[in-house]
Symmetry: D2
């Protein structure tokens, strides 16, 4: 077996994203998890706590310890809730030690973070060290990588070809986004109780989801006149998956029948974005368990609205998988290393 030369520490290992990192990294040929940390718990055999890890991992959770991590690991993943890395990551930033942060703490400027997350932000000085890295448009080798949010990834990949060509009608960008429950994490609330989710569908945080500014600021980089998006989020009675229905108008610079070509060209050299055949739309299931984002487009000549559907697995492409893709870039590995994942058909 190949030498697993990249040593990884994970902070927040008992959350959904942390456990998904453990799962995916098990089969990464060049990387190995050498320590797992939990902000609350200490010294628990991870496979006793999570029997699905039996015979696979022989690791014990440790309290967070930045010195230990910097001495033993090559990179640290923060798979923590928002509000944790902004405090704990500063030592790594100061030491220029590589961090991939799956939380939202370093994705926004201080003022926007404060407004949308309703928490105190990290300092401007720290925030400036972080680079927001949409892995399929990799363009930087920053040491502190802010891994994009799940909804943001699905939405940005759906709109990128249009925004990059600046053909979006900025006043009518409507996103109806849906997510499975794992996106909300492990916390026990009435909205995660099985009886309230099963056989149900509900909209939440309409116009208030914290991924809105994350999406808008990236769109603006591509098409500067975009100020706002109409963005709502709803909860699907499934465990995994994001489904974005985007309704947009485009300006005269591009014709409807050119759109397919535009999408195919934009993603021609990517490995993890698949454009569906003409007028076919993807469903959630075809990407679950994978690092793919699948995109389909259909145009309505009556309303002149374009419908763009994009789907991804929120735990993989929307979290742990994209983080590994970013890690692969950082270490100069082929970006799909450890991510050759296919969806279960049945």
């Amino acid at each position: 077996m190949v030498d697993k030369n990249i040593k990884i520490s994970i902070v927040g290992v008992t959350g959904y994203s942390g456990l998904e990192l453990l799962r995916l990294l098990y089969n990464h040929p060049n990387a190995e998890v050498i320590s797992i940390h939990n902000t609350q718990q200490t010294h628990t055999d991870i496979s006793e706590q999570f029997p699905h890890l039996k015979k696979m991992y022989n690791l014990t959770t440790m309290p967070f310890d930045s010195v230990y991590i910097m001495q033993h690991a090559d990179i640290v993943f923060f798979a923590t809730s928002s509000g944790v890395s902004k405090d704990l990551a500063s030592e790594f930033i100061e030491a220029k030690f590589p961090v991939i942060d799956l939380s939202g703490d370093f994705r926004l400027p201080a003022s926007l973070y404060k407004k949308w997350y309703k928490k105190e932000p990290a300092s401007d000085q720290l925030l400036q060290q972080a680079h927001y890295s949409l892995a399929d448009f990799y363009n930087n080798n920053a040491t502190y990588i802010a891994n994009p949010g799940c909804y943001a990834t699905a939405t940005l990949l759906a709109l990128a070809p249009l925004a990059q060509h600046q053909v979006l009608d900025k006043d009518n960008i409507i996103i109806d986004a849906k997510s499975g429950l794992s996106g909300a994490g492990k916390s026990l609330t009435s909205t995660s109780h099985f009886v309230n989710v099963s056989d149900n569908f509900s909209m939440y945080k309409a116009n208030q989801h914290q991924h809105i500014p994350e999406i808008t600021q990236q769109l603006q980089k591509w098409q500067p006149d975009i100020e706002h998006i109409q963005f709502t989020t709803s909860l699907l009675p499934i465990n995994r998956g994001i489904f974005i229905s985007a309704y947009v108008k485009i300006n005269d610079a591009v014709q409807a029948n050119q759109i397919d070509k535009l999408y195919k060209k934009t993603y021609a050299n990517t490995q993890f974005v698949r454009i569906m055949s003409q007028n076919q739309l993807p469903n959630i299931k075809q990407v679950i368990g994978t690092n793919f984002t699948d995109i389909g487009i259909t145009y309505n000549p009556d309303t002149r609205y374009l419908t763009i559907v994009s789907v991804l697995d929120n735990m993989i492409k929307g979290a742990a998988g994209q983080a590994i893709q970013n890690m692969n870039h950082f270490f100069g590995l082929e970006e799909s290393t450890g991510l050759h994942l296919l969806a279960q058909y049945a």
Copy 2:
């Protein structure tokens, strides 16, 4: 017990809507099902075929027989697939015998029916006898009632207060509609196979659903300048329920903070439309098992889009329940008779 004086025949009793009519009519104090008909099957004990009806119904299916029905019943319900009543209902129309048609055969003018249903329409002469009856806006006592479609009911009730005041921006009426699987009926297709539906979410018939012209023509009656709606439909991994997310802009004739009032006023005298408290949005589960349509509204000052959510039970308000509501109107009964239905909380 009250004399159950209204005698009812049901054609198409073994489909989902027919079985739901049987279920609801069991407890109707003034009506009784006296014959059940099936276009294919004959002479089957309905409670042997459907054990959930044991000890409740003692009826045998009969072949379709218009003479029998007109001799013994006071009204006939067609709970048939599209394409059936346009042929079978003509005798009733000619005899001016009361019909409530749950199918789409008499909802559209001939040309639109042909275009969207891809079937030969009924004759113009017959079509003119039918009245499209959105039960919560009851305004007619036609003998042939075309009962509205499930998506159409949910969408029209969501938009009626705005369209009736003609304040919709006609170019940006975007409906992202979702339905549970019972809306697709009993037919066995790969899209109804459990493995393909469970843990999945998919868009289908984008811009092509046959309820689009049904919605548009009714909106036009309220606000004549409306020509088109942007309308997509998606499949939820649940049995019942429709969830409409409508994104619309409104013109200056009405202010955003007046919208709540407008909705409450429009539906003040209805029994089956409930407007949620300000900024609260309904979920599907709170209407399942009931004849209610629940509506919530939220306004985004940044995008100037109004989000309107409406939910209903597609088998009740979207089919059998509204049909009974229409029947109650026709016979001069209180419209909620037999429809005092509450949702299961757990």
Copy 3:
């Protein structure tokens, strides 16, 4: 409308059973809920807290107040968790005021309650006033009715015809019981989190469920030599429903081909137990939303084991519906009053 002459108070109205009582009693022609009580909360508009009750109930929760209840109501339902009624119900018992208790507090002798519920029991004096009332075998008009548990009802109805004829092989009574999640109530635990329930199935409380002594003591009344049952419980990823698979051997006093007849005879005069046609087995869905228990039987000549399947809706027959059936008996009403409920087919 008929005079709703029976006045009802409900204690514990915001739990699943309390809300189900509200739902079912809405359509009871002879009864009316006049006050609702919650042990924690006070003075909340019930339809603000639970929007599915809008336009149906105009009631405000009150703190528990036994004096108020005895002055204004004719009967009180305890829809509380175990450990509540044993303390709160004593005043009613002393005043001989009618109580129907949906909790387990008065179903067992003190010693068994202590062992299985791990709580202090009510006093022997109070316990003796209570009558365990399996409604389909009504035989008493006690003022304090201990309403049976959901698993217990399904199991006892499945085994009653055999136990009453004392033909069960006492050493091989094996019950593999499954329940939907509503049986576990509203409390937020990791075992009720959607992500842990969906796509999953798990056994819990094997040999330790508190309904075991409840079942055993009733079986003993019918067949005194029965000492123990092998009873496990598993969690289905659905909201409602109980499915009992019972595997039993029978002694030579009865032949396998007589079993069907025995079951049909035992339940010939009941309204809410339906025996399936020979070799047909019921599924959960055909009883959801109803007060029925459906039972099917199949015999294996190779193993000499009889398989008995019984299904019911844990919230109705297993809780609120049976409680109303018991109330109907108590007040001399026809036992199905208010309980003419049919299952949704789709």
Copy 4:
């Protein structure tokens, strides 16, 4: 990358098991799928037909062609329905070309096959060439491998430690087995329609499942006095997973407190059977997506019944995964090659 030296053909590639083989073999370091065959379809681009395979497989289905397969491949997998390989596989048997057969056609002697499958069996001569290979008890290097059924694998692994020590009370072996829907395959029947499966649970083929003789004959090899098992199967409203609840009595040769030790010893050297910690029972989700069988045991001193729970993924350990494990054995590879699969936690 390692040379993928084993060349594989798959017959029946468009069924669930065939697609799962494609999925798993993608990441097998020593094997490669070189041709895919379908008994009906011909010359279809597999990733056009199944979009989840886009960017992963560039293969076109071919009609079945035994000559082509024997010329180009090293081994052929039959992932066909029962009744196919008994006809198509004879040429391979005669040529002593390696076959792994996932169907039931070569698991039983002719008379039992005829009785339980209700089809004409293969000839005795052919049947004798096949070896039933429970991969975790690998003991043969036959060229024709009859891969065990899903229920059979779960049941046999649950009972093996007891049967091998001949301590089972032969008259009381009761198996209550449950499966997700993928076990029933892709065929469209009313029992696979989403509306009939969702929110439901039903027993089917009680005492008649074709895995009964498969289990019994293997148990007999271990403990010859076993004649019959009491075995029922039920359908869970989930896609994947088998859950076996076995209730057995053991004779005096072994004490209840020795059982844990017995299980741990039996499986000490296996890679894919995990015994839970004392009194812990596994749930389905912890093995989905993996080749593991997890087993938990609990003893009831009152009834003297032992409850054994075993869980596995019916598409992997119950089909494609075990087939690959058998292939690894056949070619002398480490048995877990390509099968390092972890369950998704969320």
